[in-house]
């Protein structure tokens, strides 16, 4: 009676708990009761799918959305979207958002004392190609101060949002830059126990995608949950 071929549980230690005390706003928002463990059903292994109709052509270039060029070092961020078995994930919607080069978001709630850039919105999206690859042209976002604790600063980062093939594979994460001295002090970057997992959020400088006289390249691969090796079957113990 094989039925659902589900997605693997998150590997131990590689995901944040909802509550992370150093991230102050998690304290009154994280659930306090244990999450209820359930088997994956058809509802969890299905999910929205995407196609060309869902993307605006050129939205993968965040530097050409206005009359002029945005301020800041131009960069190219590219990589692959794979599952945990290394299988490329084609036609996946990838959405990104970020601060401008001065560390300011185009958002009414961002009152950080830094300039807005009339030539930068900070939104981009694209679909992965047949090999699961994506590529954005943007500017390097600035670091910025925030109110979590005294002298709190976020390291430079770009937000990434992906759905993957199923409701179960949804992922929103942040990509960081190599060598950023603020990483060691950031409660959001450090919310995950596994050091290797954290460090995989740091992109790699990439000569191969660097364009001479134009833009530095950074490489960032994104791994979505892989499938269970075998379908789940009735009668198995669900506790583990």
């Amino acid at each position: 009676m094989t039925r659902i071929r589900g997605y693997r549980r998150w590997a131990a230690g590689t995901q944040p708990a909802c509550l992370h005390l150093p991230y102050v706003s998690s304290r009154r928002r994280a659930p306090t009761k244990p999450l209820v463990e359930i088997p994956q059903t058809l509802s969890e292994i299905t999910g929205p799918s995407w196609g060309a109709r869902d993307v605006v052509k050129g939205a993968c270039d965040l530097t050409t959305q206005h009359a002029g060029s945005p301020l800041g070092p131009r960069i190219i961020v590219s990589g692959r979207v794979l599952d945990e078995d290394g299988r490329p994930q084609p036609n996946m919607l990838v959405e990104v958002w970020q601060a401008n080069a001065a560390g300011r978001y185009l958002h009414r709630n961002d009152q950080h004392n830094a300039s807005l850039d009339p030539n930068f919105t900070g939104e981009g999206h694209t679909l992965t190609d047949e090999q699961g690859r994506y590529r954005f042209v943007t500017i390097r976002p600035g670091e910025y101060a925030w109110g979590n604790h005294h002298n709190a600063w976020r390291p430079a980062h770009i937000h990434f949002s992906l759905f993957g093939p199923a409701f179960a594979t949804r992922l929103v994460t942040q990509m960081y830059f190599p060598g950023d001295p603020l990483l060691a002090f950031d409660p959001i970057f450090n919310c995950t126990a596994d050091e290797q997992a954290r460090n995989r959020l740091v992109s790699q400088f990439d000569w191969d995608t660097t364009v001479p006289c134009e833009a530095l390249g950074y490489h960032f691969d994104i791994i979505l949950r892989g499938r269970e090796a075998t379908p789940m079957e009735d009668g198995h113990d669900h506790d583990r």
Binding site: R3, I4, G6, R8, R9, A11, T14, Q15, P16, C18, Y23, S25, S26, R28, R29, P31, T32, K33, V36, E37, I38, P39, Q40, T41, L42, S43, E44, T46, G47, S49, E84, D85, G86, W97, L106, H107, N109, D110, T121, E123, G124, H159, S161, A166, L171, V172, T173, Q174, I188, T192, Q196, A197, L201, I223, R225, E228, M232, D234, H236, H238
Partner: protein
């Protein structure tokens, strides 16, 4: 109904799935393009319903910077997805997905059609339900819950509902408005006595 396989997790060379990070306070820049409050257009078959509610934190304060993503079957209980094996019709123009932000009062609202019962071949049907993925500033990862319909006979045998202790099942049930037919209320409480049930899978 299916159970979780006990097979040890395979370790692959490329490493485990990427770590979640919070959507932060400024997610609307990247996510608002996908905002929608109408899941089913006028021509879609099924019982029209409206669902509205608010999201509250542990102090009972509304959460204005959260976003819900819903996923549901059509009125026949069929998902728009290649892995749905059910022999049921799809509906033109119905995708089953919407992304809804909360407003200043922590409120959200959307219209849709009531989903049908989803049923894998040779299995018990699930009671009609709507999946909800919830993200916000202050949550380092998405939490997931389900909306169920009140007075639904299938609720009594729904495998997922049965895994929730009886005293907490009510947090998953839509509440009829009482005056406006087809309108339901459903609040989310992140903490407190009526903390909403969230699932892990």
């Amino acid at each position: 109904m299916t159970m979780i396989d006990k097979t040890a997790r395979q370790v692959s060379e490329i490493g485990p799935a990427t770590t979640w990070q919070t959507i932060g306070p400024f997610f609307s820049i990247g996510l608002q393009r996908g905002y929608a409050t109408e899941v089913a257009g006028p021509g879609v078959a099924g019982e029209r319903i409206a669902i509205e509610g608010r999201v509250f934190d542990g102090d009972g304060l509304p959460i204005p910077d959260a976003v819900l993503e819903i996923w549901q079957a059509n009125s026949h209980g069929k998902y728009v997805h290649p892995e749905d094996p059910q022999d049921k019709p799809l509906d033109e123009g119905f995708l089953g997905h919407a992304r809804i932000p909360t407003g200043e009062d922590g409120g959200f609202a959307f219209t849709t059609i009531k989903p049908g019962a989803v049923c894998m071949p040779e299995e018990k049907p699930q009671a009609p339900h709507i999946l909800v993925g919830l993200m916000m500033r202050g949550l380092l990862r998405r939490v997931v819950t389900r909306m169920y319909f009140p007075n639904e006979p299938l609720n009594a045998t729904d495998e997922i509902l049965q895994r929730v202790e009886a005293a907490r099942r009510g947090t998953l049930l839509l509440v009829p408005d009482g005056t406006k037919p087809g309108v339901y209320r459903w609040d989310i409480h992140m903490q407190g006595e009526v903390e909403t049930v969230f699932f892990e899978f």
